[in-house]
Subunit: 158 residues, 2 copies
């Protein structure tokens, strides 16, 4: 088990993707007007581009993983204005207070609006619920450039 300087277990990218795939609620952090904003969002992992774009020699740890996260958002929102084309951070976690354990995965990358018809048809088929009742007609895709996962080793939490 690899530990970081804070005594947390470092998760490899396969473990990060596994945890991301098993969950559906995360938080998107963006920079807007020199301050951070943070939004809860449902998301889904999209691996449908995997076979088509993966090139020989690129594995899960090569940094060329083509799996991505897809979100829905309403047109014209503060979220979309601050996220599309800019660096974002997206976080998913779970905590178990009973056993003082928990994990967290943080994804960095740049969010892009899904615009082409082919891609729209593809993401509309994903099992993605928006967070809340409004008409979230736009889809954002986040292709991770960094993936950081940490777990509190059981029995070490205070």
């Amino acid at each position: 088990m690899k530990l970081d300087r804070n005594g947390l277990e470092v998760l490899d990218s396969d473990e990060c993707w596994q945890l991301l795939s098993e969950n559906h609620l995360g938080r998107l952090a963006v920079v807007a007007g020199n301050r951070p904003e943070i939004f809860p969002l449902n998301y889904v992992v999209d691996d449908s581009l995997l076979d088509a774009t993966r090139t020989e020699g690129s594995g899960p740890d090569s940094g060329e993983d083509s799996r991505s996260l897809v979100f829905r958002t309403a047109p014209g929102t503060k979220l979309a204005a601050a996220a599309v084309g800019f660096p974002v951070a997206f976080e998913v976690d779970s905590a178990d207070p009973m056993f003082h354990t928990g994990w967290s995965v943080v994804v960095h990358g740049t969010a892009q609006l899904v615009e082409t018809t082919d891609e729209l048809l593809q993401v509309e088929a994903l099992p993605l619920r928006p967070w809340g009742p409004s008409d979230k007609r736009h889809y954002l895709r986040l292709c991770p450039t960094e993936l950081d996962g940490r777990r509190i080793p059981r029995g070490t939490g205070h």
Copy 2:
């Protein structure tokens, strides 16, 4: 029930504080090197300054609420470097997939290091667990300048 443009119920500051008080895990978003970073953190609501500093005429909605959030962090961390003295956003949420409901509270403000002996004695008495096993000897205090709470009205989630 007041709804925002996205059809979400707008929570008043008393409801926000109630939800903050009932929970202990949130996520701190900061700006570091022109990109957002996001950290899971345990926190506690500190209302011990309430009576001492509240002035006549300042109520929960006056923007002068002296309740604050307190976190622990290890000295010299990326988190502390990007948070202390800078604008931050802190988010706490809960989702109930069964009923397609959920809520989220986002706090904005500037994080400050707790430094005076009196204040340190006070925060050390708070029931605050760090997230993870490392030696988190520093305390940060976030006095909210903005408090935004939203709830998905039951039965309206998709």
